[in-house]
Each structure stands twice: as structure tokens, then as C-alpha cells.
Symmetry: D2
Subunit: 115 residues, 4 copies
């Protein structure tokens, strides 16, 4: 079992022990995920590029980032678990597609345009 | 190397080959993460609880959920990588805290109140 | 001047007096907006449909919803102001389009599918 | 009636004519709001501060920003309407609080810290 699978199983057990599985339908988990993404966004909302890149691992910003990132990951793997999706396999399939879609010579130094 | 670490390294290489590392500062990645969370939310915005729980693995909803979930995971591990954070360790630390904070006997069947 | 324009001007003055205009570039405001949408999502993440519809105007949920809704609106009109966009005109143009795109007889009781 | 109230009433009628009121519970509208905030975030995810400030009103970025901003506003006022909240009054109350909480002399040029 990989470390991410172990985390998924740990969270499953945590939820089952508290009878919280009843709350973990997809819509509720997506709303919860948004709450955590919002907290991550708040950490960086007023910081310029320089400040954020100099972030010291011992700094409060680094610690808080790790905590919010962890919360996002937890709701994400719980959602994947509830939906019966293997998130790492799905992500590898997306990278397979991205490698085809964005050939190195054509996209070198060019961010894909979303406008 | 775990499967999540392998995915992180694969995405690192993908970014380096295209000289896209210059775009991957924390704020940009958080905005990109929001874009993908928004696509996930759109899949479920008008569905009631029943519909979403009956989701068939072969259904279009299941396929699309896997793709959007994958996109969220990819930007999340890229952000963790850029910030020098191990997301699985951070998530395990959060579950350590949650187990203490929400004792089974006190929170049985009770969602923590956010009001 | 409409009440929304008055609010926009009030927020402009609030920002100028504190020399906060320097922080109010589009990306920063979108991150701030995400933070507030996240707080709104947290209020409803574990509530089922019944509970939320019975929400009493005097309840804490109603009060908190009003506060978070207000925060979203404030960052939204600040963003519109910084970008030189009239949000109400833009919204009326979107409804013009939506009325054409979703004819009553074809979409009666049918949510547009996002899958 | 203010222009924002007129927009709210127009959206009410649009929803009633299509029998879409049944979809417009708070959680569904927050998920829809997230979808639109995500589209707004995508427009700016890979742009640096310079590019975005030079945005020409005739540019595609400006047009797209107006459209996404409009979508966010529409779901926001629909949510306010469903919850029985006057968003402009609520926002003015928030600015009353913010003016007290962030005195000019203490916060001049200082973004409030969210770390």
C-alpha cells in the first residue's frame, strides 16, 4: 500500500469511527475543499512574488501553507475515495494527455492561453 | 519512491522540459488550483444527493470527476513541490491533530459546526 | 448614483485613505475573493438541503451568510472597479444571452447540463 | 428600485419562467459561484502583474473578465435573494466595521496580515 493509500484508509477509519460518513457526499466534500482552498488563497492574497519565493521553511507562512495544503489534500482524497476514483492513476493519465497536447518545441516558455 | 512522489517528479520534469517553472510561483498555482476546483464544482452544482451517489463508474459524470480531481491533485502537488512541503506527511500531522480535537464519544454523528 | 456605485466609491475611498490601492491588482483581488467564497462554502458544507432552507433570518447562519456574502460582493466590485468594468451592465448582457440560449419551452424544469 | 435590485428581479423572473427555482438552493448556488470564480481565476493564472494592469478595455482579456465577473455577480445576487439578504446593506455594514478595525494611521500602506 502506498503512502497515499494509507492516508486514504486512515481517513476512512477516522470518518467511520465518528459516524461522519453520512456527511461525506460529493457536494459536501467539494464545499469543504473550497473552504480549504480559500484558506490557502488567503495566505498569499496580499503577498508579492518576491516575498512568497523567499519563504523560509521555518517561517509561519511555510507552516501555515503546509497545514492548508494538507487540508486540501485530505478532502481531495476523501472525495476520490467516496467516488471510487484512484487519484494518482487519474493524474498520470492527465499527464499522458498533457505531454501529447503540449509538445516541447511548440510550448517552450509559453504558458497555455486560457483567454 | 512512492507513487505520489513519482507523480511529483514526473510533473517537475514535464515543467522543466517546457521551461514552465517560471510560471509556477505559489500565487499562480493557487489560481490554477481554483480553476480546477471550479470545474469540479460545476459537475455537481445542479445535482441532488441521490443522483450523485448513484453515479455509475462507467458514466460520463464519473469520468469527468476523475479528470477534474486529477487536475486538482496535479496543481496541489506542484504547489507542495515548489514550497518544499511533503503533502502526505503534512496531512498525517493534520489527522493526528483531528483525532485529538474530535474525540469519538463527543463527536459521534455530529459534524463540527462552522457557524 | 446607484447604491452599488456608491458602495464602489466608498470602497475606493477606504482603499485610497489607507494607501491599499497598491495591493489591489486583479490577481490579489481574485485570491481574496476565493478566500471569502471559501468562508461562504464552509457555512454550508455539512448542512443538508432542509436545514438550509429553514434558515431563520434571526439565526446565526443567516447573520454569518450575510457577512460572507458581503465580503464576496466587496472584493467583486473592487475587482470590477480596478478593471474598469461596470458589473451590473455586464450582468444584464449575460442575462440577454442566457434568455436566448435557454428558451423557456426547451429548458422548462431542466438544469443546463455541465457534464 | 436600484439597478442591482432590478437585476435581482430580472434573474428571479428568468428562473421562475424556466421553473429553475427548484435548483437554486444555497449549496447549489455556492457550487455554481465557485465554478464562475474558477473561470475568473483561470483568466489570470499565468499572467504577471504587469500584463494584467496594462489590460486594454478592447482586449479579449477585458471582455472575458467582464463576462466572468458578471457570472459571479449573478449567482451572488441570486444566493442573496434566496437567503433573503440585501447584499449592498450587508456590504455597507462590513465597511462600517472595517473602518473601525483598520484605523488609517495604523494601517497606512500595511496589508492586514492573514498568516
Amino acid at each position: 500500500m502506498s503512502d497515499l493509500e494509507a492516508l486514504t484508509v486512515r481517513y476512512q477509519r477516522f470518518s467511520a469511527e465518528r459516524d461522519w460518513e453520512q456527511f461525506h457526499d460529493p457536494r459536501s466534500l467539494i464545499l469543504a475543499l473550497m473552504g480549504e482552498v480559500g484558506e490557502l488563497a488567503e495566505l498569499y492574497q496580499w503577498r508579492d512574488k518576491e516575498a512568497e519565493l523567499q519563504a523560509d521553511p521555518a517561517s509561519q507562512l511555510h507552516q501555515r501553507s503546509a497545514e492548508e495544503l494538507a487540508d486540501v489534500l485530505l478532502y481531495l482524497i476523501r472525495l476520490a475515495d467516496v467516488l471510487g476514483i484512484d487519484p494518482v492513476s487519474a493524474a498520470n493519465r492527465k499527464l499522458d494527455v498533457a505531454e501529447e497536447r503540449f509538445p516541447v518545441d511548440q510550448y517552450l516558455g509559453q504558458a497555455p492561453d486560457k483567454t
